[in-house]
Symmetry: C3
Amino acid sequence: MKNQLYYGVAYYDEYMPYDRLAEDIKMMQDAGITVVRIAESTWSTHEPQNGVFNFSSVDRVLDAMHKAGIDVIVGTPTYAVPTWMVKEHPDVLAETKEGKGKYGARQIMDITNPTYLFYAERIIRKLISRVKDHPAVIGYQTDNETKHYGTVGPNVQLQFVKYMREKFGSLEEVNKKFGLDYWSNRINSWEDFPSVVGTINGSLGSEFAKFQRTLVTDFLAWQVSLVNEYKREDQFVTQNFDFEWRGYSYGVQPDVDHFEAAKPFDIAGVDIYHPSQDELTGAEISLGGDMARSLKQDNYLVLETQAQAFINWTPYPGQLRLQAFSHLASGANMVAYWHWHSIHNSFETYWKGLLSHDLKSNPTYEEAKTVGADFKKLSSKLVNLSKKNDVAMLISNEALTSLEWFPFHFTSEKNYNDVVRLMYNELYNMNIGCDFIHPKTKNLDQYRLIVVPALYSASDECLKRLNRFVEQGGHVVYTFKSGFTDEHVKVRTTTQPGMIDEVCGVTYSQFVEPKKVTLKDDPFNVGVEHNQVDTWMELLTPTTADVLAYYDHPHWGKYAAITQNQYGQGIATYIGCFISSKAMKAVLEQAVKKAELWGSDQDLSFPLITKSGKNDGDNTIRYYFNYSDTAVSFTYPYAHGTDLLSGDEWVRGDEVKLDRWGFCVLEESSL
Amino acid sequence: MKNQLYYGVAYYDEYMPYDRLAEDIKMMQDAGITVVRIAESTWSTHEPQNGVFNFSSVDRVLDAMHKAGIDVIVGTPTYAVPTWMVKEHPDVLAETKEGKGKYGARQIMDITNPTYLFYAERIIRKLISRVKDHPAVIGYQTDNETKHYGTVGPNVQLQFVKYMREKFGSLEEVNKKFGLDYWSNRINSWEDFPSVVGTINGSLGSEFAKFQRTLVTDFLAWQVSLVNEYKREDQFVTQNFDFEWRGYSYGVQPDVDHFEAAKPFDIAGVDIYHPSQDELTGAEISLGGDMARSLKQDNYLVLETQAQAFINWTPYPGQLRLQAFSHLASGANMVAYWHWHSIHNSFETYWKGLLSHDLKSNPTYEEAKTVGADFKKLSSKLVNLSKKNDVAMLISNEALTSLEWFPFHFTSEKNYNDVVRLMYNELYNMNIGCDFIHPKTKNLDQYRLIVVPALYSASDECLKRLNRFVEQGGHVVYTFKSGFTDEHVKVRTTTQPGMIDEVCGVTYSQFVEPKKVTLKDDPFNVGVEHNQVDTWMELLTPTTADVLAYYDHPHWGKYAAITQNQYGQGIATYIGCFISSKAMKAVLEQAVKKAELWGSDQDLSFPLITKSGKNDGDNTIRYYFNYSDTAVSFTYPYAHGTDLLSGDEWVRGDEVKLDRWGFCVLEESSL
Amino acid sequence: MKNQLYYGVAYYDEYMPYDRLAEDIKMMQDAGITVVRIAESTWSTHEPQNGVFNFSSVDRVLDAMHKAGIDVIVGTPTYAVPTWMVKEHPDVLAETKEGKGKYGARQIMDITNPTYLFYAERIIRKLISRVKDHPAVIGYQTDNETKHYGTVGPNVQLQFVKYMREKFGSLEEVNKKFGLDYWSNRINSWEDFPSVVGTINGSLGSEFAKFQRTLVTDFLAWQVSLVNEYKREDQFVTQNFDFEWRGYSYGVQPDVDHFEAAKPFDIAGVDIYHPSQDELTGAEISLGGDMARSLKQDNYLVLETQAQAFINWTPYPGQLRLQAFSHLASGANMVAYWHWHSIHNSFETYWKGLLSHDLKSNPTYEEAKTVGADFKKLSSKLVNLSKKNDVAMLISNEALTSLEWFPFHFTSEKNYNDVVRLMYNELYNMNIGCDFIHPKTKNLDQYRLIVVPALYSASDECLKRLNRFVEQGGHVVYTFKSGFTDEHVKVRTTTQPGMIDEVCGVTYSQFVEPKKVTLKDDPFNVGVEHNQVDTWMELLTPTTADVLAYYDHPHWGKYAAITQNQYGQGIATYIGCFISSKAMKAVLEQAVKKAELWGSDQDLSFPLITKSGKNDGDNTIRYYFNYSDTAVSFTYPYAHGTDLLSGDEWVRGDEVKLDRWGFCVLEESSL
């Protein structure tokens, strides 16, 4: 992979309504496109019949791209199976909780099915061995947005039983750790192990979800090992990870352990989709970027993001540029659109590409041209942005899954990722750079503040590590539910918050669903509207902690809502209830200040977002983004900076203006 | 069929809780009932066991009715299968997307199943041969509200594959036209053709829906051919068509191509149900009537409409009369209620008939008596109302289905029929008489204005025909989405709106979901509340068109919302976004005026509705209806008219008064 | 069973995260716990493999409890089947309308399956024979919250067909009574009898529901007969009945005929769950208690109620005490919590017990201690409270089921139990003591007022009995829908309200869904907001009745809404529409007054609730409860009373104060 910024598109010659490869390449060149991603969606074209291969569209695209100086990432075409395979072997479709699978969509197969694996291996070897020596190919993507697709058929159940025996040794252990005596769920012989499809035991259900995530890890590692047999030294292998989807990229992916799954890859890749127009905030770009960068603690590829995308995402003038540079500011080395063109049939007809259906120029394409030109111009300055953050957020698939099993209350629409976003968004809004870490992350010492949303299920080891971190001078901000259950989603029998009560200096044994509860005396000055508590509240009694907020309520008023405790050299903050984003902002702000992390970047705040890092020349690069429909200005707080796009020079105290949806990139020379 | 108005009821002697045939007939005679519909719902009574027949209830009703001078329409009893058939042959139940069928409701069988067809043919031949010579029998209805019931089992799938091969010749064609390379959906061998049940390809899904509609056409044609073997010269065959159901008859029926299906019938029949009480507007009566009349361009039968119907439909005093004459005003020669009585068990217990459950008189029945008397009195004046409309609306099953596959947006509750109704209702409200035409209608020249809602899927031929219509002096009003895809629901690769861009003098390549968008400067003076744009908006750039409205928005304000273009001798109006009914009214009003169709009927408007036509004496009959709870009056604009009910004579300038929910019928003598 | 008040908990040694039996018993003793319920949930622990038994946890708990002086109720562990059984015999799972059952939850088996019955009988005999002589065991519970679990498999269908033949003799009868000619549903041979799973015939569906309820009755009677073979003379058998569940105990249980099912038991038991905190009203405690007491017309056991229960039910200080004594005031001799502790895994992790997850003391447990102490102190005074009520409410499973089949309208969220609660709550609020009776209750003479909510399906016999009751001087208050259909849910063909039209002096043949309808001139002075009519209204015409309220509506204003009729010596009130609770209160108040039942208790009203009865010493016990968050006081209206908790003496005219959520218990000595 060349040491440069890449500007790319997903491109499917196979989808084109008529032959326009030359025209497309011409338009790509005009737009400064330097890389295309191909092949991962079109198995049925490349293997029209069992064992009959036709890579002509791959060959012709590789040749034409190479001739045009555009690099290519080739994907293994395994996430969408051909019709002949399903007709010959219906069992390749995953059986899910809803029953037998039906052919039609992508991502419907059982990724553990040996028939599928046999055919997948064959097409991977055929394709990769064919293209590996092509000079256009800079790397590979395995599969696409891989998940386990809810596979729960008898074969998967059998593997799960073996996994359980391997992991726990005896059923006595399982029965005890999972509390299976309850409602006569006890299993007394391995042969009796019931299908988990109907289980009402959240410990068992969560363990099964964990097991399903290992299937994804194993499947991807297997694909990487196949591709690695062929790839050249200068080629990379990546995967296109995606996030919990709420109509856009929202938070932690439930079905994949990204940290584990990322290990065999050379570089992390992601897709990030986000609201647009008046709802464009940059938060998802930042969140997805921070997650991707954290996977391998390195730069990453945005393999997919929106050009025009769905109907309400047609960008306002300026937004496409703003988005592209926002990705770079989080550490991306590539920004690529899904797709080059808007397709004319089927599911994603309205998932519009850079070109509209008429395949001609349009305002978005015209704006992309300027992005391409600027990427080219600034590539050496902006590539490989390196970041060193003092703040990390600890996220956990296990906490997420267990809170699905034990939601805040029956009708609650909020879940784990709502807590993640409530905290992350406020860090983002105050321009705090942030890494993501996971329950097994060992070296916490590099951070000064760790934010921990709703860590409902966690091992003793993980919590002890956090306790030690505080003791040695670190700062942790926990929310409610943290520590409540162990790694088997068994509620701790010790004082709550489990394992962290002493460090947080607080205890509770009761909790309620708040109704008309506020924080007493509006301790954060957020106003009546934002001083509400909702969804969940714990009745906290401080032991050694200071109280940051009490509840205001006729009966619960004696209990604390938010506390802060000095423990050893550090400080632990505990938020016992769902609070508004304004209140969360206040709590995080004082935590950031106590951790001595408040700097001049924090004097700016959303919609004025700033991000920075070091470039290859070891100079600091500072991005300033205006995420609003109104021009803004700010006082430049650093010694000196050169605007890499305009060439303007700024010194401390200068007033810098940003257009609506505008931005600037400054380089701080190490004078 | 006699040359008279018919006033009827559906009557099931089989449902009666005790023998009261004589009493029922007496009460029918008192109410002026002249026709009953029988037999189509009671197969299990007529064939209690396989091959054992018992038509005694048919015989006795025919005899008694004949004696009483009441005519009878006999239905083929095939839409509800007997228990013995399902027990013997469970496969007669349609397999749908939801799986195997379950016995219980009506309309649950696979209308292509040969076992079902065998038994259906046998009962049809037995029944029709038995009754054909009975003097009471004036005609036949085949089946009832026939649809395809979502049948998708393996046999239907096999027929579909053959249909595809027959239609497209090669899979290469199918793959290309339907874009099956996408997501590896390509089919490379006919044997591999997957079940369409799970398809995510909207082109394939729409084609399957089209195929399913042919099953209905074929089934009905087969039934007609059977009945035709028996029917007397003076007898007719009809079918009871129904509409998209939203708790009442709403719009175009998705599952039947009414125009095709109606061909073999002698006369069209429909059922029309509509809100009542304060929500009675007459719009559904008019819409259903216009559709029914357009099927064979002739008078039609209202085979079912509500008497008291469901709980909220108990009519206010006067409404039953108003409704009955409204049907006549649209061209109906029969108005019949479902049912005569309110049934005492099962699904439609609260679908109340003319009689309540106590089978005695009630206010609604008393009002029916006056209708019956007036029908009798005015039959010769009002029968065979003949209409010649200058305005037509082009409706399309294909557009409807394809917009189900590609809705306006994910959470949109609006669909094709919402656009149909948005336009139709405003034509109705301004007293514009309207025919319905379809994509294959050839002779457009008889019209001066054609209204085209959301013609999302259409062939080049259809659009060229419309283009030629404009060029030669016609007026067309299109909405958004028209022309976007071809007949295979492939987005056109040419400039949008596809095929009609030149005629409309407008282009676009981008569209968005409007949020806080209005029409600039309220061009139609509809007020803030009604000046909103919702659901869908195209960013129009006029080429040769005049702009009737721009968007008001910080970024989209430079684009047009509604345009009008002179092309050849005619004018094409293009509405690029969902607008309010008030705005639609304004657009249509000016289109009507430009087409020089604005007359004195248009000086009246809802709730004062007027409809007219010529009677057998070639005199103009004018109906005036007051669809409101307040008395209204209007100035009579024509030379002379005789009120057929009161005998009053009116001349131009007279003030005519209508009671709340009142109406009058005037005959304009050709002096 | 000792003649004492019992204070209890459900206790599962098997669920404990570590051995703490001694500690638990110590804490129970501190809290005054006198009884525990065990064993009914843990079959898989007691029979870990087919035919292998292990009752060690039962034995050790019995021994330890006995040593501690705590009594034990042993449950038959049949409501949750072990994994081995389902693995060996998957058919034990009930097939329901949703298809084959899946293992996981409790209460998923077919209670008619002989394999299940074989294993159930074996474990019952093993367990009961083992424990019967243990001195700790005071009684038994059979199964738990038994219902039919929707079982509809082929075996159940076969039983149903036989039941139908047994009951109706011929299909001719069935076809006629159920109106099966409709939509060709007629059954002409028993072999053709279709599965009722898909039926759309509400008569057939309701009859099947009735049949399903007999399965529960039979199953419980069979269990009792088994237990009776072993039980000692001093031991009892009970069952834990529960109610329609709307997130709490709401109303009549649809799936069980409680009156029939209760017959073989020695004493009735129930579980009662209810909203808490600001939503605690005591209404469910009263309703559940009245139902339980009415089953055997005797005292009853509250086998389960909430301690902390679900998150929003953590009680305010004082509420746990208030609740406990409220149960006693309705006639309970036992109050027991579900569970002793909060469990650490699985479905009910947040169904919190008396102890929180930390198994230490907490505010709720501390309050329980005071309850236990007071129960002990007052046991002899408060046990066996005896009641004689003049008012009864007639409830009906058949009315409930038939209104599920024929709801008020398509989108109605209200059903039978909403009418029950609308009436019951107002009786409760005005401190009217109330029994429940059922359609077969013979001796109505003991009552002076019978309240009859929505008796939609009822036999002639039942209605004649009510007619006679009125004729002989009784008072009845009917609502809409009463008498409309017979016991086969066939609408009566006579004048409506069927069978009671003469007694009520009113008729109707039409009804509508009210929109903007009020009661004319606000006859009950409830104010605009509460004077609305909703959901359902009948257009009543009085024959002999007085009109209590007319509708206010342009067209329906001539019809009556509520009427009252003198018939014989009594009075029948008919409420023709859904009215507000305030209007219902007014109607019931005047009915109570006309029945001469208005007394000094009625001068108090919610939130000040009073209940009374006679104790074993034949002294009147009077409870006064303050169901509000504010202190209240009232003037004591009786001659003399001794506060059993404080010892205070009150005489007529004294001002008695109750704290927020406070109460007092007074004994009126028979001076």
